[in-house]
């Protein structure tokens, strides 16, 4: 019952005029960012984080979480009307959303997506509220070895479950961690990795410089190149009457996908490497597998729209769970939120629940409020969003570039970092073309400043014996799971070889 008390306080906090205003702006921006092809929640949060220095941290995080939330709703709009996913999280929505739109049922698809998103969001919010304080309580007893083991697990999931080229994934992780080590060595206080004696490196590489470089500049250049053709939008005629009728159809035909997506999405979302994109793809697959009419999938099944949309909202909340309770982000977007918390002067981790209850519960309360407003704004303004999707890219792109450059400067007030960001942008563009995953690098630059000291403190505790990560009762199992995940691809390779020989 204590939780319900905290929750109602949190909802009350998020309804304060400033926070409510930020939720409305955030959700609307998020819907737009999610709907624009080439921009997802991670781009929006990375580019707009510097803007939040104006408001107190508890409001800033509510604003950014609202963008995250809105983007999950928004992705469906372009998946359905353009046939191009508005964000990677909405890829699975195109499978059945686009066929429905081509059949003239765009409004049914849009309403299904919105309702499924709402249910997914609600289910995951309830799960979150139940699990988070419990997990944070357990995590309070964690020492450096446990925290380092969790870091290892976070990176191991990218290697074992990420599905990308493995050497490239490992390279990306290590590169992010090395960039995080630039500046000075915290323990000895000596300057470290100050390249070519340039003093700009003395203050280290701010994670935003890498994040905006990758998600603001690099990804924009890549999108300009890949969306070279003209896009055609399908119009959706909607009125209050059609929305009511479509809602009934959506509830009748889409309940199964919504239920599967809501639950599966949440648990997949918790895993660091997974997040909303695989969560929605998996939910689509499972729903199709369990459906009585699997042959309808891909041709415009309502369940096929409901499952991924419920899942991506649910997963985005799930990804917040490890971020808030353990200080380990569950997705690239939450990695940036975590970095933001550090900039605002907070220490992420289980102590947040006891030290900053207003911050934590205000955020949790805002999930519920944002979810309701995202549904209402989404349904009310679908025609406006479709109209905005016709905005030429030659107007949107310079806006993003300008925001990125200004945001990169505002983070550290040093032009050196803006140049560095441009370098990262070009580098990210080239690496992205060659299938190098870049999300691990962004996660690593955020986690690096936590991973290194915990490793060194652990080794100091054990006088250099790495077995400390195996012998401790909580760190042990986590480390072992992490090691299995890291070596999983290798084990699979050997097994395949053995089968081939037999």
């Amino acid at each position: 019952m204590e939780i319900l008390g905290h929750l109602s306080d949190g909802i009350w906090l998020s309804l304060q005029p400033l926070n409510l205003g930020l939720i409305l702006i955030g959700v609307t921006l998020g819907l737009f960012i999610g709907a624009m092809p080439g921009l997802g929640s991670v781009n929006g949060v990375a580019i707009l984080l510097p803007v939040t220095f104006l408001v107190p941290p508890s409001s800033a995080i509510i604003f950014l979480a609202a963008i995250y939330y809105g983007a999950m709703y928004g992705g469906a709009i372009s998946s359905i009307t353009l046939g191009i996913p508005g964000a990677s999280t909405a890829v699975a929505t195109t499978f059945d959303g686009r066929p429905l739109a081509l059949k003239g049922k765009a409004s049914l698809a849009l309403v299904t997506a919105a309702l499924a998103s709402f249910v997914g969001g609600t289910v995951s919010n309830v799960l979150f509220t139940g699990f988070a304080p419990l997990l944070a309580h357990v995590a309070l007893s964690f020492g450096p070895p446990e925290i380092f083991a969790l870091m290892l697990l976070a990176f191991a999931t990218f290697v074992g479950l990420g599905g990308d080229d493995i050497p490239k994934t490992i390279l990306s992780i290590c590169m992010g961690l090395v960039f995080a080590a630039v500046g000075f060595d915290e323990i000895s206080g000596e300057p470290r990795l100050v390249f070519f004696g340039i003093t700009g490196f003395m203050h280290g590489i701010n994670f935003l410089v890498l994040a905006i470089g990758v998600y603001g500049l690099g990804e924009m250049i890549w999108t300009i190149e890949s969306t070279r053709g003209e896009m055609t939008t399908t119009d959706a005629k909607m009125s209050l009457k059609t929305v009511v009728a479509d809602s009934k159809t959506a509830a009748r035909e889409g309940w199964r996908g919504t239920a599967i997506g809501s639950l599966l999405g949440f648990f997949v979302g918790i895993l660091p490497a997974a997040g909303a994109t695989p969560g929605s793809l998996m939910s689509y697959g499972v729903t199709k597998m369990l459906s009585r009419k699997p042959e309808e999938f891909g041709k415009g099944a309502v369940d096929g729209v409901a499952a991924p949309e419920a899942a991506n909202n649910s997963a985005s909340t799930g990804a917040m769970l490890p971020m808030l309770t353990l200080g380990i982000p569950g997705s690239p977007t939450t990695a940036i939120l975590l970095g933001g918390m550090v900039i605002w002067g907070m220490t992420p981790g289980p102590r947040l629940f006891t030290d900053e209850p207003a911050f934590v519960w205000g955020l949790i309360g805002s999930f519920y409020v944002s979810n309701v407003f995202a549904l209402l704004i989404n349904l009310a303004f679908i025609p406006v969003f479709i109209w905005m999707l016709r905005m030429p890219f030659t107007i949107l792109a310079p806006l993003i570039f300008v925001l990125s450059v200004v945001g990169g400067y505002a983070a550290t007030a040093d032009m050196h970092d803006v140049w560095l960001m441009l370098g990262f942008g070009f580098g990210a563009y080239a690496l992205r073309k060659l299938d190098y995953p870049l999300a691990p690098a962004v996660l690593a630059i955020v986690l690096g400043p936590i991973a290194e000291p915990t490793l060194r403190q652990s080794l100091l505790l054990s006088s250099g014996d790495p077995m400390i990560f195996i012998n401790r009762p909580i760190a042990g199992p986590i480390t072992i799971i992490a090691l299995i995940l890291i070596f999983l691809p290798l084990i699979n390779l050997i097994r395949k070889k053995m089968v081939a020989q037999a």
């Binding site: 961690l177 080590a181 030429p392 310079p398 032009m415």
Partner: protein, 167 residues
Amino acid sequence: MRLAELITAAVLALLSIYLMFKSAELDIGYLPGEGPGGGAWPFWLASVMLISTILIVINWFKKATPPSRSTEPFMDDFAKKSLVKVGVGLLGFIALVGVISMYGAMLIFLVYYVRVLGKHSWPTTAALSIGLPVIFFIFFEALMRITLPKGMKFTEPFYNFLNTIIY
């Protein structure tokens, strides 16, 4: 694409070696009573990077990954042109910040992008390239009290005048 994959791996390998040398300027071993030295963490990470690049090159020889099999050019004409256009714009933008201030550079960049690349009408161009710097100025200087670069001396009278309005 195949050539680009190999060159990128080679560049990343060189970067790894450089990072290893740079890390080795600090202690990379275990210091009794102090724990691992300051350079140990980046040194060993950089060496894992080096091993990864070697694996990438092995995969390249075995043609095990899509980019190492692809015969398509890394960048076609469209990609090259758009990268040059956008890249030159961004370089110019950032270089001009130190000369004619963040707001001035923003204006020039927007005119270049919206008018020259986007071929939009002059009214659209003017609205965006004048409107945005004004909005940014109000937001950063007046509301957030964050000062963005003002460029060289000659912009001073102009910004002094604006400051008398907002302060």
